[in-house]
Symmetry: C2
DNA sequence: CAAATTTGTTAGAATGATCTAACTTGTTAC
DNA sequence: GTAACAAGTTAGATCATTCTAACAAATTTG
């Protein structure tokens, strides 16, 4: 059984993997805030457990077993975040840190009950999909707000970044998942986008913000 | 900050301490299922952190700081158990193992919300008191059923043992906290007690059982 | 009280997770 | 295509947590 440390490595590998499923050691080390040799030695040990394919100087690859293991931890993380928001009244900006700890609890019944109480949700409070019990993830392809056309009506459905600071920024502008946005214009110079939505007639969103907002076209 | 391991040692020391607050190393080692040298070395390290008073060959003593630390972990444990029963529908026999893990989560807001959602309970699902936010425990003195007199009407209010097996035994007899029991007789030979309660006219409880049931006299 | 038993201690080792320093391999930029 | 730089590896150490084996102190028992 994976230790808490190993589980955090698996999760990081999963989240960092590119289209070919590859991860660089430095990205892994940076993401977990450990030194390169630390990450290197842990990767070797994950290989011994059959979760990572590792060859000297080559990019890291999760094995299918490693992918499943990671997805099941991410499942616990996202179920927890949703439970904290839907059943315990937390804000979406408060739940990640707590879920980071709760995800390591070994108690299938606990997460099963959360799931049941919420009616088996498929997305977390930030719009990310919740892997199923077998570790399968439904891939969703949303459009970044930054690549939408003026005039379009869209609905905010997910985020590419869920840092507390970003979520607090969205709170301050009353932007939440489900908010319907009309794209009024786009500034060519700095790629900022002007939108209107309930209670906000002329809100300017910087490129940094609009590329982190994933939307679904409504019209 | 205490590690999970240290927290479990503090909790064990707290729970094992006798009327003078003393604990023997062997009891500690046995209770945590570690060897004597392991417990010995951990106790020395807890002393360095200021949580234990330790002198060679003397019984162990928690310092006031250690007592508070322990009580606050026990608070998280018992709040969690109550939350699992009251808000998530678990049986009292299912919650200890989960709480044993959840108690180590560092997220004051999380336990604060549990507390609020339950209306600030003062006992856990097994009748044990929940320490307050300052680590103070309200001492309650209940009577074991084994020392009650025939004829008495009493109410089951707590347990001295909360093992899954014992709780499942109580479930099988439909005995729960709050159950009112009439003591019909007591067998001098083996100290067993015969009681009646809703749906059970003549239930014989062995000494082993009746000394683990804590009651409050109703008449 | 002395022997037997229980309880506690020390020494020495292993494992997991981490670090810094030094080195090697791979990649990028003239 | 070499020099500079980035990325990855190895060596060697530390700290936490655990163990077994050997020994010492304290307690119980006849
Ligand atoms: Mn999260
Ligand atoms: Mn985590
Ligand atoms: Mn418990
Ligand atoms: Mn615990």
């Amino acid at each position: 059984m994976a230790s808490t440390t190993e589980e955090n490595y698996l999760k990081a590998l999963f989240n960092l993997s590119n289209s070919q499923g590859e991860v660089n050691l430095s990205e892994l080390a940076h993401s977990l805030q450990v030194s390169l040799p630390t990450a290197n030695s842990m990767v070797k040990s994950l290989q011994k457990s059959g979760w990572v394919n590792y060859e000297k100087y080559k990019p890291l690859l999760l094995t299918p077993a490693g992918q499943k293991e990671a997805a099941l931890i991410i499942r616990k993380h996202r179920l927890t975040e949703m439970f904290l928001v839907k059943k315990m009244g937390f804000g979406w900006e408060e739940v990640h840190e707590i879920a980071e700890q709760v995800e390591h609890i070994h108690a299938p019944k606990f997460f099963q009950r959360m799931d049941e109480m919420m009616g088996f949700p498929t997305i977390d409070p930030h719009g990310s999909p919740i892997p199923d019990k077998l570790g399968r993830i439904q891939e969703i392809h949303y459009t970044p707000l930054s690549s939408c056309k003026p005039g379009q009506l869209v609905q905010l459905t997910a985020l590419t970044n869920s840092s507390t600071e970003f979520l607090e920024f969205l709170n301050s502008r009353k932007l939440a998942l489900g908010t319907e946005l009309r794209i009024l214009s786009r500034e060519a110079y700095d790629s900022s986008v002007v939108v209107s939505y309930e209670g906000h007639m002329n809100e300017t969103l910087s490129e940094k913000v609009s590329e982190r907002l994933l939307v679904r076209a409504l019209e």
